[in-house]
């Protein structure tokens, strides 16, 4: 399946782009992260410390072990700092 993968804040900067479309067979977010980290050194660096990475599936906060089935949009970003 294909998912839109979005990056924000310093994840976006390290990866060098705000979004990309990825063909994947990943069953969970964690498997998708492994696939992305294997793509190049920028992805690997951005995703090296998962304790500093938050994830949303289809614009809802989720977690690394969430299933990806049916997801259209997966976003990675640092802990939020609004308000």
């Amino acid at each position: 399946m294909a998912v839109d993968v979005l990056y924000f804040a310093w994840l976006r900067e390290r990866i060098g782009q705000p979004r990309e479309r990825i063909e994947t067979q990943a069953a969970t977010v964690r498997e998708l992260v492994a696939q992305l980290a294997a793509m190049d050194e920028w992805h690997a660096l951005a995703l090296s410390d998962l304790s500093a990475v938050r994830v949303a599936i289809d614009q809802e906060l989720s977690d690394l072990d969430a299933p990806l089935a049916g997801a259209r949009e997966v976003a990675f970003f640092p802990p939020m700092t609004g308000g």
Partner: protein, 144 residues
């Protein structure tokens, strides 16, 4: 009962005109850009269009149900905001003060750690660090 995400400034007085009609208590919170002892000239705020509006609306509705609000409003800006500018505001209206205060604090605690905004510091020499999340902000959620 609305959430807005916008670049433009807002006017708290104008936002409160007619807000919470019939309520006894209105609480507002507004966040301003601090200069951090001269280290900053501005903040650049990034957000996740689409998810932001969903998240703010969901928190507003949750607060309304939990605290019996008769009205609520959330406004959060993005883009470059100079020192002293308003970043965001929350307003809550209820019959009594305890509910209005608690709902505003609840909304702020969620916003700080769960709404998809990220702040970057802009110093005299240009863009600097992304603001790091404070562990106290995450801890604040445990009280609700």
């Amino acid at each position: 009962m609305s959430a807005r995400v916008q670049r433009a400034p807002f006017d708290i007085g104008a936002e409160l005109a007619g807000f919470g009609a019939g309520a006894g208590a209105v609480v507002t919170f507004s966040g301003l850009v601090r200069d951090e002892d001269g280290r900053l000239v501005a903040l650049e705020i990034e957000h996740y269009p689409g998810m932001t509006e969903r998240a703010l609306t969901a928190y507003g509705e949750a607060a309304a149900a939990r605290f019996g609000l008769s009205d609520w409003r959330i406004i959060h800006r993005y883009g470059r905001l100079e020192v002293g500018e308003q970043i965001m505001m929350v307003a809550t209206a209820a019959r009594h003060r305890v509910a209005a205060f608690q709902a505003a604090e609840y909304l702020m605690d969620w916003l700080k750690s769960r709404a998809p905004f990220w702040k970057r510091e802009i110093g005299p020499d240009g863009p600097g660090n992304w603001v790091e999340a404070r562990s106290g902000d995450e801890d604040a959620l445990t009280r609700w």
